[in-house]
Amino acid sequence: MRKLNLTIIIALLTSTVLFTGCVQNSKSMILENTQQLKVRSYQIKKYNKSKLDIARAVVSTLQDLSFIIDKADIRTGTITATKLLKNASMRITIIVRDKGKSTQVRANAQFASANKMPEAVTEPKTYQTFYSALDKAVFLENQGL
């Protein structure tokens, strides 16, 4: 009897581990329950440079990070790029917009790895890391390098 109880506990534990992350209805992933304002707060950064300068800096940052550019359009300021590693992949879209005296950059990314299903990147830290790489590219561009 005691053995049976233990078997049930183990089975339950294993199934909990296996099915965590599963959603009740896969259609819920179409819109996802994101908080618009919060998402924007960490995806956006402003720079006091022209739109073209920032767009070029974004492209060189993506190259620094070993991304391949999939799409680019200066009118809408859209740049989409992909990075593939053996066990992980990331797709990122960056929109550069002219906001009068400053330029606004917004990045959003999705990430997948061998033990992680593809999902939107929601950790602000990842975006901060990207923007610190962009800061360096903007600096280098300023120096004419």
Partner: protein, 181 residues
């Protein structure tokens, strides 16, 4: 009782270990120490301010090398291209055939490189602050698949000779364009 406990411990250890040494999203956008060195390796400056001319010559070079153009944007000076090619290497094939014969397991061949998709981005940038130059930066990556189409390896190319050869070809292409060839 002790046996179940051991199984439980092993299960959890397995779960924890499987999370180790994995790439996370933040690492994907983190600059490495070699980033600047790679930037130099991937870049060459040409003594002209005619960015369009360098862009056209780069596209022509990519065509010389058999790439198909996927995306091009003149304003940002971006060209992205790709090609699919043979990835079979004699050494690897012979080794795996021998292994398959010795082990009697034909599935060994599933780990043999078969085809590769090569993707590259070329970006031209005017560098007019210090000198009158246009820079060209090339980044290349490739995805290697087996005969079943499963991905075996993905890598960013960092070989100096490959980049050097490409830029030499662009220089030649600029010359050819100048002479209307």
């Amino acid at each position: 009782m002790k046996r179940y406990f051991n199984i439980l411990i092993l299960t959890f250890v397995g779960i924890f270990i499987s999370g180790c040494a994995q790439t996370n999203a933040q690492q994907m956008v983190n600059l490495t120490e070699t980033s600047l060195k790679e930037r130099q390796l991937q870049t060459r400056n040409y003594d002209t301010t005619q960015e369009d001319k360098i862009l056209t010559s780069s596209v022509a070079t990519l065509q010389d090398l058999g790439f198909n153009i996927d995306e091009i944007n003149v304003d940002l000076g971006i060209v992205t291209c790709s090609k699919t090619r043979d990835a079979r290497e004699i050494g690897q094939q012979v080794g795996l055939v021998l292994l398959a014969v010795l082990s009697g397991n034909g599935d060994v061949m599933d780990s043999a490189d078969h085809t590769q998709i090569i993707r590259a981005t070329v970006v031209t940038t005017p560098k007019t602050k210090l000198k009158k130059e246009t820079s060209v930066r090339l980044t290349i990556m490739r995805v290697i698949k087996n005969h079943k189409g499963n991905v075996l390896n993905v890598e960013t190319i960092k070989d100096q000779t490959i980049y050097k050869q490409f830029f030499d070809k662009v220089s030649k292409s600029v010359f050819l364009e100048d002479n209307n060839v």
